[in-house]
Symmetry: C2
């Protein structure tokens, strides 16, 4: 069950690395190459991911020499769900209908109800997790 896709995973690794350096060494700007060296991720791919995060307003990017990516939002305020939404849309396990055909009993469908409830819970729990909480474990 692919709940967290690779894009999200790579992006989280990158952000956690950046947050770590940022908090411990007060480092501000990170090039893709640096993150790639440290985390062993595919470079061109990660670049695309960080671009996406910049478009989403989590990071800022600066072109040219001495350029790179830095946090726009502080890492303690970046939720896991923010990152997931950037790459995989909102958490939604309620899509129980395939090919547009309705379930046999849509209105009183117990599965639909159950999935909706579970989904809310998942969202609530994942929103508690931030880049810093991944780094620090709390």
């Amino acid at each position: 069950m692919k709940f967290i896709v690779r894009d999200t995973d790579y992006a989280v690794r990158a952000l956690v690395y950046m947050a770590k350096q940022s908090l411990s060494k007060n480092k501000k700007v990170f090039t893709v190459d640096e993150v790639v060296r440290e985390e062993g991720l595919p470079g061109r791919f990660l670049r695309k991911l960080l671009q996406t995060l910049a478009k989403r307003g989590l990071l800022v990017s600066n072109k040219g020499k001495k350029g790179g990516f830095s946090f726009l939002k502080p890492p303690a305020s970046i939720k896991l769900t923010d990152i997931m939404e950037a790459f995989q849309g909102r958490v939604d396990i309620t899509n129980c209908l395939l090919k547009g055909r309705p379930c046999p009993n849509k209105k009183k469908c117990i599965l639909r109800k159950t999935l909706k409830n579970i989904n809310k819970l998942i969202q609530r729990e994942l929103e508690k997790i931030t880049v810093v909480s991944l780094l620090e474990g709390r």
Copy 2:
């Protein structure tokens, strides 16, 4: 987020149809062709799915003229999770590690803990849902 795959979906439709006929008309044996006619599913594909359910011990199959599939387990005792497991393995959203690389902080990883808890809850909830509860909405 593909939580329920198409195989499961088709199989559920088939089983719900069969349960309905079984409960209302005391019908026992169903050919693939009948289900396909009624539910509009791809025939050869559904046959493969019902074969899987038979191997799993949910249905029995009978070859030859007047053959077909019938319930081995009563539909009220067939859980959604039984069907899901047949086609997509156990419900497991905890696979947060990709490409075998560990997360930055595996032992005290808050995401891991959160996902494990959520997963238990999902399993508990989905186990309450059976073929008959899908049919009846409770």
